[in-house]
């Protein structure tokens, strides 16, 4: 994994398909995908506020670096703090809702958030905020795509390893227990609301950092990046990677970025009327196809291949994850 990331500036542009910008975004989206995997895949909480928490992080960094000239590193921390507070406040009423109802309520929050980003005076409205200060280490500015790709992926790798560790330990089991049966989880002393709250906060932190990184990378923040359909896009990536797989996330992200690039390139020639908006159809089709035929995502496909190749292991899990084999080597 480390090698793949280290050589990213070489192989990514060589695909003639994806650019290094996609590589940077993939790192950022991996953080967002992880937040959904923790919430949906492992805790069973279909919370879809990622565009809001992502946006809060991005706007915090944008506003504080542009208006108040704060150090961008500092603004990442402030963004995290704001997001934690936001998540705690939001969790109180929302996390008591079950399944579907949580989904629709959080979508309501997602829409409110998007509307606020568009309308609030402080966010610069539809025009957004330009001129976000780039990150720098000492006098070294992280502004080139290459430097930023490394930064984004260092953060993403740390988050991946952290989430993998979390999942395989006490709290990760508690999360999956809650997903399976809250009654049984509480019968062994787990406090479902607390654990859900923790995951909610963790997800907000991950997406807040992603938002701040995004703001410093592009130097420009506008509401379009934080629409409800953005949340759906991340959801599609996570479903493709495997909802119950930490290491599947980056694969899902790259798969969808590649699909997006392909549709942008070849789509218009296939369906001239669609213009550049064709990816939406593609996402929908991918989502349905995966859920119908490969609900475990790429991760489960990879594990099935691995097993048939090595001929090892009997039926172990009904919905396998890639975690075991791959993660041991990479940590």
């Amino acid at each position: 994994m480390v090698i793949v990331v280290a050589t990213m500036p070489i192989w990514l542009p060589a695909t003639n398909f994806l650019t290094l910008t996609d590589g940077v975004l993939a790192g950022i989206y991996t953080l967002l995908g992880l937040s959904l995997v923790l919430l949906i895949g492992y805790t069973g909480q279909l919370a879809l506020t990622v565009n809001v928490t992502y946006g809060l992080g991005a706007y915090t960094t944008a506003i504080l670096t542009v208006d108040d000239k704060l150090n961008p590193w500092l603004t990442i921390l402030i963004g995290v703090a704001i997001n934690v507070a936001f998540a705690l406040v939001l969790a109180l009423p929302l996390l008591r809702l079950q399944g579907h109802f949580l989904a629709v309520a959080t979508l309501g929050v997602a829409l409110i958030g998007f509307t606020v980003f568009q309308a609030a005076p402080i966010t610069g409205g539809p025009n957004g905020i330009d001129g976000v200060t780039p990150l720098s280490i000492g006098s070294l500015q992280i502004s080139s795509d290459t430097a930023f790709a490394y930064l984004a992926w260092i953060v993403a790798l740390l988050a991946l390893i952290g989430c993998r560790n979390l999942i395989s330990g006490r709290l990760g089991r508690a999360m999956q227990a809650i997903k399976g049966s809250e009654a049984a989880a509480s019968s062994v002393g787990i406090r479902p609301f607390r654990v859900k709250m923790m995951v909610f906060v963790l997800a907000a932190v991950l997406s807040s950092v992603a938002g701040s990184l995004y703001a410093t990378y592009t130097g420009f923040v506008s509401p379009d990046a934080f629409s409800v359909s953005f949340t759906i896009t991340i959801l599609v990536m996570v479903v493709v990677g495997g909802l119950r797989s930490v290491w599947g996330v980056p694969f899902g992200v790259f798969a969808i970025l590649a699909l997006n690039a392909a549709l942008q390139t070849y789509g218009p020639s296939l369906i001239p009327a669609g213009g550049t908006d064709i990816p939406i159809v593609g996402y929908g089709v991918v989502l349905i196809v995966f859920l119908m035929f490969l609900p475990g995502g790429l991760a489960s496909a990879a594990q099935r291949l691995w097993r048939s190749a090595t001929g090892s292991g009997g039926p172990r899990r009904s919905m396998p994850e890639i975690g075991g084999a791959v993660s041991e080597e990479s940590s």
Binding site: P93, G275, V281, P295
Partner: protein, 294 residues
Amino acid sequence: MTFLFAGLTVGAINALTGLGLLIVYNVTGVINFAQGDFVMLGAMAAILFAGANGHRAGLPLIVAVVLAVMCVSALGGILERTVLHPRRKSGPVLLLIMTVGISLVLEGVVLVITSSQSYGLRNFTPGPALSVFGGTVSLQSLWVFGVTGAALVALYLFFSRTRVGKAFRACEINPLAASLVGIRPSRYWTYAFALAAGLSALAGAVIAPVTTATYDMGLALTLSGFVAWVLGGLVSPVGVVVGGVGLGVAQGMVNGYLPLGLVAYANAFPFVILIAVLVVRPNGIIRSLAERRV
């Protein structure tokens, strides 16, 4: 008064969408995320059949509307059969994400066809707006009220008087018992989707002359329908209608009387109500849910 009428018009659509959600949820346990897209499809199909913006000569309006409702209803049933049905045991979360996928595809296809343009439909009866009680109400709004009312009466008769309607309710109350008396609940999944889609399409067709139709109008409609449903207390169709109309009127008032500085936030209003209801009465919702699950 004018705002009240505008609100009632929106409210009628909320109510129909909310009823669609309710029907599907009661039978299948799925919240159909694409419900609002069926409204959009109903509007688009009616426009397609009747001729866009009155330029192209199309079918007579009544035929176009009936055709649109039938097509969308059939589409709803087909989508359920082909996409959801094979996976209907995979749990509510995955099913909801699948309906998100359906929603994306529907929006995407319409987007490709319409190139994100908005389309209008001619009024069902031409003529100037009427003034009633000091406000103005367009003739089309009267159509919306009338059609919604008729649909509600028809639904009531369907559920209380016909054999199929009663079987429907049996599936809601107890699928196992229903299957024991020879009703196949799984088949009613399809019926529920078709019925709900048709209802939404009807809403779309009558509202099209008022609001015009765009490919991406579905999400907000789904969520408004959901708010109507939550406000209405989740179980009763009457509640949904009251909730939907109440929400619509509130929306109309907000649009009319909101101070200028806050106008930009008006879109978020229904969802603020939604969250408020959830905050104030989380127990009510959880309890009725828990009862459903048992």
